[in-house]
């Protein structure tokens, strides 16, 4: 069982009252609400938290990419991963992921990931995503080409990592006379690739394909949806003619461990609700699903439902749904082992800082999780999957 710390690096010092005057937390929230002095302190606090994760026994740390939002201060996960590369020595560094369609020049991703893989001596886990719909407003890239650009950039990057250069590449979106990436990746044939997703048929088929067998991560979903999507991966692998392993399946979730169930909920509720409702949730459908980002069938369903992107979340209810997990170490351990037995994931990505959760609570959450939950979870995984199944 791989247990990783997932960090979004939110702008936790957001003036909430001021931000509430604006309709969106993405794309158009004025950047005058960002104070660089506070940002400086937050960046360093968050990097400290990720370095501390290695110290207290996490297998790795995960960073990701979002643009023009208080939700995360990581427009470039490359920068975060690079800052961590020389300050850690054992932990995996997972970039979950780089948004391939947003890059005008996808070979930069092949180069940057390969550099980090070389510097860390093979501790990089590469992740590839399309970015959420908002990214296409923030970045200008045409969403109707999102999937095509993802596929083409992916093929180019993997070929650049594995085929002898120089070679020519002329696709529909990207054109190169000389593909000849220096450095080559440290890990051979290339770093492991993880695919985070909210769950779509196409993504699961892509990730589970026998030529790839990429680890699929279900992110921030009710536990029922996690079970369904990971089962769908297993079923798809079967149809492809092989049995997938727990190492190919992962789940990313916010989590909070307190002394008791009651104190856990009391301590984290406000911060979790800020995360869901103020940082993530202020995003209309037009931002989340720009034309062409999804299949036309999904777009029609959205038009018909006239739905909003997110309903207001309430922590106790989210905890019940397994959107997040909070409670005493005993409660959290039992629930996670239960989920693991039911769902069979070999990678658990816990987000132990979310929204406005301050430094002291984040540290205590990390320590309680690392001391009182993680060892039991790993022991249970060993019994369930066998020693080598997930590493």
């Amino acid at each position: 069982m791989n247990v990783m710390l997932f960090h979004l690096m939110p702008y936790a010092d957001l003036d909430l009252e001021e931000a509430d005057k604006y309709p969106h937390s993405w794309v158009t929230l004025p950047n005058r609400l960002y104070d660089p002095k506070k940002g400086h302190a937050l960046y360093n606090r968050y990097l400290d938290e990720m370095e501390y994760a290695e110290e207290i026994g996490f297998d790795g740390v995960c960073v990701n990419e979002h643009h023009q939002t208080c939700y995360g201060m990581m427009p470039s996960p490359i920068v975060t991963a690079s800052a961590l590369a020389r300050r850690t020595s054992r932990a995996k560094i997972a970039i979950l992921g780089s948004a391939l369609p947003l890059r005008a020049h996808p070979l930069t991703i092949a180069e940057e990931h390969a550099m980090i893989d070389n510097i860390t001596g093979g501790r990089l886990i590469s992740g590839f995503v399309r970015g959420i719909g908002c990214e296409y407003h923030a970045w200008g890239v045409n969403p109707t080409y999102s999937l095509a650009r993802f596929n083409e950039a992916h093929d180019l990057i993997v070929r650049a990592w594995t085929e002898p250069g120089p070679f020519e590449f002329h696709g529909r979106h990207f054109h190169f006379e000389y593909v000849n990436v220096w450095p080559r990746p440290y890990q051979q044939p290339h770093p492991p690739v993880w695919i985070p997703s909210q769950g779509s048929r196409e993504t699961i088929e892509f990730a589970s394909h026998p030529s790839r067998k990429y680890t699929y991560l279900q992110t921030f979903s009710p536990i029922k949806a996690v079970a369904k999507q990971l089962q769908s991966y297993r079923d798809t692998a079967k149809r492809y003619g092989y049995t997938s392993t727990p190492a190919q399946l992962g789940w990313a979730t916010p989590l909070y461990v307190g002394d008791t169930d009651e104190s856990a909920l009391a301590e984290c509720a406000e911060h979790y609700e800020n995360f869901r409702n103020r940082y993530l949730g202020k995003m209309p459908m037009e931002m989340l699903m720009p034309p062409g980002y999804t299949s036309r069938e999904s777009a029609k369903a959205i038009v018909a439902a006239k739905s909003v992107a997110h309903e207001k979340a309430e922590t106790a209810r989210s905890n019940e749904l397994g959107m997040m997990t909070c409670g005493s170490a005993k409660t959290v351990t039992e629930r996670l082992i239960g989920y693991m037995k039911e769902i069979g994931f070999g990678n658990l990505l816990v987000m132990l800082q979310f929204g406005t959760l301050p430094a002291n609570l984040t540290r205590r959450n990390m320590e309680r999780f690392a001391e009182d939950v993680m060892p039991k979870l790993k022991q249970a995984a060993k019994e369930l999957y066998g020693e080598a199944a997930t590493s």
């Binding site: 407003h137 890239v141 045409n142 037009e286 038009v303």
Partner: protein
């Protein structure tokens, strides 16, 4: 005035084509909302012209060809279309994105075009003139922001969309994004070549256009100096829909002089 609808195939791409009326030929190039049905302004125009209304490739009942990547592809398609139907001395009228297509056609070749009317055309960018972002508008805003007279918007919003209308709406929106997402609603190279349009031209603009402000009319006038500019008062982005009679009168008046 009745319209007939036929399917027309141009180099393997099938599109719908409505025809109605009699008189000089008028080719109407529709805007982002398509031309799925015969609308009152088409009836008005058909009293003075033989009106041809194709649905662009990628819109409504027309094919979605693989080659459709940008506005230039659509311009070349319509040059093929004019040749295939052997249309000559045509009055081309284009609204919004259709106006942009008409301009892209005309900078390339006006040999079959007698005169050109562009109604609130997209296609150029002028710093400082605030444009709307219809990709961020809610479904309600997308209707309301088209009209000056909100009673028209109220009526449209009160009618629930049929599944066929939703289908068309989503298809049209996807094609619009394909053609106009980036650069947003314009072609950085178009302004360089608008002087090549030497035929008589007319720019019609709604005074209260929220998609592209009416200030754009004067900018087009600088680039196409012979153009006649008509500003329609108390009107939004779609004068042909909001003020069909006045719109048709302006087109007839322009056509009569040219």
């Amino acid at each position: 005035m009745s319209f007939n609808q036929e399917t027309c195939e141009v180099r393997g791409c099938r599109i719908t084509l409505k025809r109605g009326g009699a008189g000089p030929r008028l080719l109407y190039l529709h805007g982002a909302n398509g031309a799925a049905s015969v609308r009152p302004f088409m009836q008005e125009l058909a009293q003075a012209f033989e009106v041809l209304v194709p649905e662009h490739p990628g819109f409504g009942g027309s094919d979605e060809p693989d080659w459709l990547d940008n506005i230039h592809d659509l311009a070349y398609f319509y040059l093929d279309f004019l040749e295939q139907l052997d249309l000559k001395d045509v009055l081309v009228v284009g609204a919004s994105i259709g106006g942009w297509v008409a301009l892209e056609v005309a900078v390339r070749d006006t040999s079959r075009i007698r005169a050109l009317t562009a109604v609130g055309p997209l296609g150029i960018y002028v710093p400082g003139l605030k444009r709307g972002d219809l990709f961020l508008w809610t479904p309600e805003e997308k209707v309301r922001n088209l009209f000056y007279d909100q009673k028209i918007a109220d009526q449209m919003l009160a009618q629930p969309a049929t599944p066929e209308q939703v289908e068309t709406e989503v298809k049209n929106l996807y094609t619009l994004a394909r053609l106009a997402w980036e650069p947003r609603m314009f072609d950085p190279h178009l302004a360089k070549w608008l002087h090549r349009i030497q035929v008589p031209a007319q720019i019609i603009w709604g005074e209260h256009d929220k998609v592209l402000p009416a200030g754009y009319a004067a900018e087009f006038k600088k680039l196409i100096p012979q153009a006649r500019v008509d500003i329609v008062e108390r009107c939004g982005h779609v004068p042909h829909t909001e003020r069909p009679q006045e719109f048709a009168r302006l087109v007839r008046e322009f056509a009569a002089k040219n």
